[in-house]
Amino acid sequence: MGASTSLPPPDGAADRWLRVGGAGRIAEVEEALLEPAGQSLKPLLPSVPRTVEVEVDERAARRSLREQIGKLERELSQAFVAAYPRDGIEWSVPSQAGPRILSLGELERVRDGLALRLRTVRGDLTERARCEEENRRLVERMMLDPGRHKFVRVSREDIGERGCGGWHVRPRLGIIGMMMGWWQVKLSSGCPLST
């Protein structure tokens, strides 16, 4: 605290100050101190914390968020195209009850929603690609050694392709083949109407 405030206040101002008391009663304090005429009591006022209103220009932040949203939307669109023909993937990102001008917080929610959706979709696609690769290897093994994969069936969908066809290990000549160990892979091209 400065030297000026450590001096005793003149003309009973200190009494008034003490009588009024309470840091939250600034207006009353000011009134009490300024009341006595003839002397400037301003320097004796304790330093009063005041709330300073600063106008923050959020436009730049919103512009930046919109750019991020555009970039994420592009990446999500790329993922959508890459995911085809796989289905069952959720692409939607919750709307913000538009159309209207979104606040900074709402734009952040859109950006975060897109980022989360993109991460989820990429995770799903990675997992599916791994499964599909395993299934492709399984088809290869079925072709090489049908006898060790009796009745195993892999659909085209299981390897990430369109259509309802697939590979199925079945005995040649029915029950005779089953008894003799004559196994083969039957390749189905699927239903022509399904595509």
Partner: protein, 223 residues
């Protein structure tokens, strides 16, 4: 040509609608283009129906899947996100048309005006809407709706939520941005003149919008 001048002129220069200051601050590249033309309604002539058939034949599933990566549809998707819409729930006009084509198996003729709007949309990716000019008081403007404002002139519709982005004329909102037209303001058989308007967003070249409006007028002029 002035937007209010009579006569169907395929070379008409569209007028530029106003964008409210608070909207322009946020979306400086948003534009509203509109023009006035004599209303054309009724069944599409054979030429237009054949054009639709040709479009249907050329449009494949692969187009629908990759559409969102194309610059113009992508720009509208991004704008949808910016204004709080989910383009996978509320489809952009071009994606909605593509989906309808896939579901119905073809672009079905719905009358000359709808067909003209659809052809322009599918060829440019830019949506156009048509309003009854006798029930509108141009110039048009994009702005936020005020407290208690209703869509259109009737009291039968519920008030819009404050802050909803709308296309409005001097008297009030005529359409929700990228949404429904106000009831009773669409083009009907009794409409004499109509207003065609389009919305350009960031990333959509002006020439696409003008091409869409002129393409639409071309189809209507040929009818």
């Amino acid at each position: 040509m002035d937007a209010s001048e009579p006569g169907l002129d395929p070379g008409a220069v569209p007028a530029e609608g106003a964008i409210a200051a608070e909207v322009r601050e946020e979306f400086p590249e948003l534009r509203l283009l509109w023009l006035s033309a004599p209303a054309v309604t009724g069944r599409s002539p054979r030429g237009v129906r054949e054009r639709l058939r040709g479009m249907s034949d050329r449009f494949r599933g692969s187009h629908a899947v990759t559409m969102r990566q194309a610059p113009v549809p992508w720009a509208y998707r991004v704008f949808y996100r910016h204004i709080g819409l989910d383009p996978d729930a509320d489809r952009t006009p071009v994606e909605a048309a593509a989906l309808t084509r896939l579901i119905k198996g073809a672009f079905k003729s719905e009358g000359i005006l709808d067909d003209a709007l659809l052809i322009a949309l599918m060829e440019t990716g830019v949506p156009i809407w048509a309003l009854d000019a006798d029930r509108a008081a141009p110039p048009l403007e994009i702005r936020s709706s005020g407290d208690g404002e209703r869509l259109g002139r009737t009291d039968e519709v519920l008030p819009l939520p404050a802050g909803r982005l709308v296309v409005a004329d001097r008297e009030g909102p005529l359409a929700v941005l990228f949404g429904d037209l106000a009831p009773g303001h669409g083009v009907t058989k009794r409409t004499r003149r109509m207003i065609l308007f389009s919305i350009q967003v960031a990333g959509v070249p002006t020439i696409h919008v003008e091409e869409a409006l002129h393409g639409c007028l071309d189809v209507l002029a040929a009818a």
